[in-house]
Amino acid sequence: MSKQTILYIEDNEYNRKIVRQLVGRTSYRLIEAIDGESGVALAQQELPNLILMDVQLPKMSGLDATRVLKADPRTGHIPIIVITSFALSGDREKASAAGANSYLAKPYSPRELLALVREFLPES
């Protein structure tokens, strides 16, 4: 059976690198996008099993991308973990309203991130 795929949409190269190295030691397959628009396109094309979405992204914000994906019948079922900074009051509510299944505060501990991913997507 094919590997479970995780899509990470994040514009910061080093953060992508962390997740890449983290996931590299697991059985998941990681695909990456560096802005909201290409992230949505990639999700629609690859239909991953889980999406990690940064809030602050070029071209299209993470919340908008979440809304688009949740509204699309092909991708609507894919769980999305929004990575927010809880900058302002109401950010949490905004993430839920956009359709996020869970959220993680930046800076996250790689250990925590992996644990949360495993919650949604138990390693086969």
Binding site: I18, R25, S85, A87, L88
Partner: protein, 531 residues
């Protein structure tokens, strides 16, 4: 009501309107105008009284004249009677031939003369007629004298015939003349009576006409003067109604050049001022609205900037702390012993930097008004536990006696547990930082409807004069301590703000060298909607 409508119609549809306006336009005070109107009316009534008086006087005079005329007629008639009797006695004397009759004739003649003289004296009789009567009477008296002589001489019989003829002729003459005199007096009286009646009627009509016109004129005066006051008052009423309804800038024009005119002028002034104020106020309101909008935009921009900054600062922090954790977790293979300490130092300082960033951002958020509490039910025990667990390792590392002193029966409270945990950690983090050895204790107590959180230590304490200041932003008692322990002086001020957002209060008790106790009290159930 009907009368009022009539007055209204008369006022508005007849040339009286012009008169009313003219009176209004007279340059005199209301007082003067009223006085003038009353004077006019009063003098009318005085004139009326004079006219009546004059009528009465002339009527009295007329009736006197009438009385006189009446007396003349009586006198003339008495004279006539006396004459008749004189003639009768003359005839008697001729028949009886005695002197007694002669005496009676003389008596009657005297009476006649007396009446005639009176009539003559009154000057109402025709002079010629009186003269004729008198001469005829003289002649008659001559006859009587002859008669008396004849009687005395006893020769009456021979002269009787002649005397009788003379006598008869004179009788006829005198009787005719006296008859004319009487008729003339009677005519005069009749004429006088007629003229008195006519005069009386005339003066009655005159008095009546004068009275009626005086009343009409008085009413007219009252009408005109009152309308000259009513019109401006009515205008003012309409004007004030408009002002009351919020429409400013109206203008009233009244023809009055009295107090009402002055009042109208002042109202117009007021109206202009009101309009000016209104316009100014509207401008100010518009300006305020614009500023408000600008402020809202600025505030929104600030909030967005904060959100971006917050995220942008955390993104590299995420990488730093993430890589460090992965290195220490051995993700890249075993860490050489000599590298372990510097990498751990990176981690400690990274975390410290993150705390600073969080504090600064929190403060900015509070100041931007973008910090809302996430109110909800929470367990007091859990708040204490989380703060305790988060700080325990640090305290243990320093060999401090870090304890919780909480009653187990603490129930569920209502508030923002995340922020309250942050407050407790700020309060407990300080003594762990500043206390070299001894005890740090976290406690909670429910007093009435207030939860009192308390953190006490046996550390260095805070000088009395600094007790108030420690809650100020960036305030630190001793800068050298900062160099030794780190920190920014933001922890307590942020804590104070969160406590106050809970409608609570915060205070500290301390004795220098013996340690200090920080308290903060929040309502068991904080008011407000859950965010």
């Amino acid at each position: 009501m009907k009368l009022e409508q009539l007055a209204e119609r008369v006022q508005s549809r007849t040339p009286l309107r012009l008169l009313v306006r003219w009176v209004a336009g007279i340059r005199a005070s209301v007082h003067t105008k009223l006085l003038a109107a009353f004077l006019i009316v009063t003098s009318l009534f005085v004139a009326m009284a004079l006219v009546s008086l004059q009528t009465i006087v002339s009527a009295t005079h007329q009736s006197q004249l009438l009385d006189e005329a009446h007396e003349m007629v009586s006198l003339a008639q008495e004279g006539e009677h006396a004459l008749a009797r004189q003639m009768h006695y003359t005839d008697l004397a001729l028949l009886s031939q005695d002197e007694v009759a002669i005496a009676k004739i003389l008596r009657e003649n005297n009476r006649f003369n007396d009446r005639l003289a009176k009539v003559e004296a009154a000057g109402t009789a025709e002079r010629g007629l009186v003269e004729q009567i008198r001469s005829s009477q003289d002649e008659a008296m001559a006859v009587v004298a002859d008669m008396a002589n004849a009687i005395r001489d006893g020769k009456l019989g021979s002269v009787t015939g002649g005397l009788l003829r003379r006598q008869e002729r004179l009788d006829t003459e005198i009787t005719t003349h006296v008859g004319r005199l009487v008729t003339a007096q009677q005519d005069r009286m009749t004429r006088l009576r007629e003229s008195v009646t006519a005069a009386n009627r005339r003066s009655l009509i005159l008095t009546g006409a004068f009275a009626v016109s005086a009343v009409i004129f008085a009413l007219f005066c009252g009408f005109v003067i009152s309308w000259s006051f009513i019109l401006p008052v009515r205008e003012a009423q309409g004007f004030l109604d408009k002002v009351a309804a919020g429409s400013f800038g109206g203008h009233i024009s009244v023809p009055n050049r009295d107090e009402f005119g002055a009042l109208a002028e002042r109202m117009n002034h007021m109206s202009r001022e009101l309009e000016r104020f209104d316009i100014e106020q509207r401008h100010a309101a518009a300006e305020l609205g614009r500023l408000n909008q600008q402020l809202a935009q600025t505030s929104k921009a600030k909030s967005e900037f904060l959100a971006n900054m917050s995220h942008e600062l955390r993104t590299p922090m995420n990488a730093i702390l993430g890589f460090t954790e992965m290195v220490l977790d051995g993700l890249y293979g075993d860490v050489p012993t000599e590298l372990k300490e510097p990498v751990a130092d990176i981690q400690v300082n990274g975390r410290h930097l993150l705390r600073l960033i969080n504090d600064v951002l929190d403060l900015s958020k509070i100041e931007a008004g973008r910090m809302d509490l996430a109110l909800g039910e929470y367990s007091v025990r859990e708040v204490v536990d989380i703060a305790y667990i988060s700080l325990r390792s640090l305290a243990v590392e320093k060999g401090l006696n870090f304890v919780i002193n909480v009653h187990d029966d603490l129930t569920v409270a209502y508030g923002d547990n995340g922020r309250l945990t942050q407050c407790l950690m700020n309060l407990a983090g300080n003594p762990i930082k500043f206390t070299k050895q001894g005890r740090v204790e976290i406690g909670v107590e429910l007093v009435g409807s207030e939860l009192i959180y308390r953190v006490s230590d046996s550390g260095i304490g805070i000088p009395k004069e600094e007790l108030e200041n420690v809650f100020a932003e960036f305030r630190q008692v001793d800068a050298t301590v900062t160099r030794e322990f780190g920190g920014t002086g933001l922890g307590l001020s942020i804590t104070k703000k969160f406590v106050e957002m809970h409608d609570g209060r915060i205070w500290v008790e301390s004795e220098i060298g013996k340690g200090c106790t920080f308290f903060f009290a929040v309502p068991l159930r904080t008011k407000g909607d859950s965010a």
